[in-house]
């Protein structure tokens, strides 16, 4: 009986296309949707009139689960948000709690954090470029190359925390373990290996005729729209807005290193791709400097295991590989669980731009635009 009722309700919300148009559902299981996204596309011939992203297939109620766990138990949960950049998720959460507690972080821990965060950005952008090549029909070539280099970074992460995807590495007041003795040399070796490869990708992709035709001038986002619609990260910078949370709202020790904020020129898919490529170079620059300056000392401040932070609320912001990642954490001061934890995920905000970007484009361009937004569904659906 209940089943019947809900069926009727769903049928009521179905869209019936106008004369000469058709509705096409792409996903939730489709290789080009980067996960479990369903796009309801209204088509006129091969032209997209309207697209409605339907999300929530991976919703696990993260924010509710966090309300029923102690502060420490939430860290491994954050790994499962943006599974391509777990370190960044760890970081935004431990930063929020540290601000509530007022913990001082040892200098060595700050350096280790910057190193793993930037390596994570490198790994995440490598995956993004690889997947993007896949989306654009460059077969598996781009992906094979970028994943070869991404493996090296995952090996590094495995050596410092034992995991390759869900690291659970940062702790309140520092990091879980000191990197092994030969980490510095190993990391430098890996960076030296990756550096020339980035030029190689540029030769493959940025000069490839098919790639250029499919990305140049497609999905143009104006800077004022990007700001008003809440775009984040490479999407925002690809539109030429020179902003980066690492600079404008500084956290840890990014001000100690010499690097630049990368922006794109035209706001199209190619600009967003160019931001990925150039940000990888900047990340390598930061990691190299941090490795050289890595000081000795403790890697973890003394913080009790079962925390009861004072009542209050904080809004912690960092620049994850996908953009401005924030957490709004409310503590009631009486329990050992967060009272409320809200995640502002950059991929969620970027995906909300899709209906705006994919107006009156060809259906093949829709896939190119979606890929350039780099959605990760662990983070969008939470």
């Amino acid at each position: 009986m209940i089943q019947e009722d809900s069926d009727r309700k769903l049928a009521r919300n179905a869209i019936f296309p106008a004369e000469g148009r058709m509705i096409l559902n792409i996903g939730p299981q489709h290789p080009s949707t980067h996960g479990v996204l369903r796009m309801q596309v209204e088509l006129e011939g091969e032209r997209v009139i309207n697209v409605t992203p339907i999300i929530g297939y991976l919703h696990r109620g993260f924010e509710k689960i966090a309300e029923n766990r102690s502060y420490m138990q939430v860290i491994p949960l954050t790994d499962r948000l943006d599974y391509l950049s777990s370190m960044a998720n760890n970081m935004v959460y431990v930063r929020a709690v540290e601000e509530l507690l007022g913990v001082q972080i040892p200098e060595r821990a700050e350096y280790i954090r910057v190193i793993v965060l930037e390596l994570q950005r490198l790994a995440s952008h490598l995956a993004a470029v690889g997947f993007y090549g896949n989306d654009l029909g460059l077969a598996f070539t781009a992906m094979m190359y970028t994943f070869r280099e991404r493996e090296l970074i995952l090996d590094l992460f495995e050596s410092i925390c034992g995991a390759r995807l869900t690291y659970n590495y940062l702790r309140f007041g520092g990091v879980r373990e000191d990197p092994p003795g030969n980490f510095k040399e190993k990391a430098k070796e890996v960076l030296a290996q990756i550096k020339p490869k980035i030029d190689e990708y540029e030769r493959f992709l940025s000069e490839d005729e098919i790639f250029l035709m499919r990305t140049k001038g497609i999905g143009i986002l104006k800077p004022e729209d990007a700001i008003n619609m809440g775009a984040a990260g490479p999407v925002l910078r690809g539109s030429g807005v020179k902003t980066d949370t690492r600079v404008t709202d500084p956290y840890t020790i990014y001000d100690k290193f010499d690097w630049e904020v990368v922006t794109g020129k035209d706001g199209d898919c190619f600009s967003r791709y160019a931001v990925w490529i150039n940000e990888m170079r900047q990340s390598i620059r930061i990691v190299e400097q941090a490795l050289d300056a890595l000081p000795e000392g403790p890697y973890l401040a003394k913080v009790p295991r079962l925390l009861k932070p004072p009542a209050g609320e904080v809004y912690s912001r960092i620049e994850s590989p996908r953009g401005e990642l924030c957490m709004h954490l409310v503590s009631d001061g009486a329990t050992t669980n967060p009272y409320r934890l809200k995640i502002r995920s950059p991929a969620f905000c970027n995906l909300s731009l899709l209906p705006h970007l994919a107006k009156n484009v060809l259906i093949a361009d829709l896939i190119a635009i979606l890929g350039s937004l780099d959605p990760v569904f662990g983070e969008i659906d939470r």
């Binding site: 029923n68 766990r69 807005v241 912001r317 924030c326 809200k342 659906d381």
Partner: protein, 158 residues
């Protein structure tokens, strides 16, 4: 800070409680009748051009909607709080000011049942259309884990 002083001067009745949390973090509470007016003023005259997130909080006696506004030019974050009574969780939508509010407000509606008046398409976003109840409210009853009978969620892990 200068923004907060000007805000109080401009809206002496509507802006209730202002404080500076730390460097680059400002807080203010606003009465819900004046929300749209205050937001429009903040965007057009104070440079808060980026709506970072809209977050709902369920307190024992009230709902709170927190708008996190960032200014790209001034590099400051303002948390604007609106309190709503439990029996009438209705507030004006700010989608006309920041388009970014669209999905954030839909999510807050989805999870807390807060009605944003004037929103172009206020439907569930993460949950299924036929889902009943608002799961992030504190009175929403979670399912018991069948492996740990009699224990509330979270407790079974300790």
């Amino acid at each position: 800070m200068i923004e907060l002083e000007e805000l109080i001067e401009k809206f002496p009745d509507a802006v209730i409680d202002v404080k500076i949390q730390r460097e680059r973090r400002l807080c203010a509470a606003v009465k819900r009748e004046a929300l749209l007016e205050v937001c429009r003023y903040l965007r057009e005259h104070q440079g808060f051009d980026h709506l970072s997130s809209v977050s709902g909080v369920d307190y024992a006696d009230r709902f709170e909607v927190v708008y996190h506004l960032w200014s790209y030019s001034k590099k400051k974050l303002l948390s604007l709080r609106v309190s709503l009574p439990k029996d009438d969780p209705t507030v004006d939508s700010v989608t006309s000011i920041w388009k970014a509010a669209d999905w954030h407000e839909r999510e807050t509606y989805d999870m807390f049942g807060i009605i944003f008046e004037g929103h172009p398409n206020l439907t569930r976003i993460l949950l299924a259309e036929d889902f009943e109840g608002y799961p992030f409210r504190k009175d929403y009853k979670l399912k018991e884990n069948p492996w740990f009978p009699g224990k509330s969620p979270g407790e079974e892990q300790r």
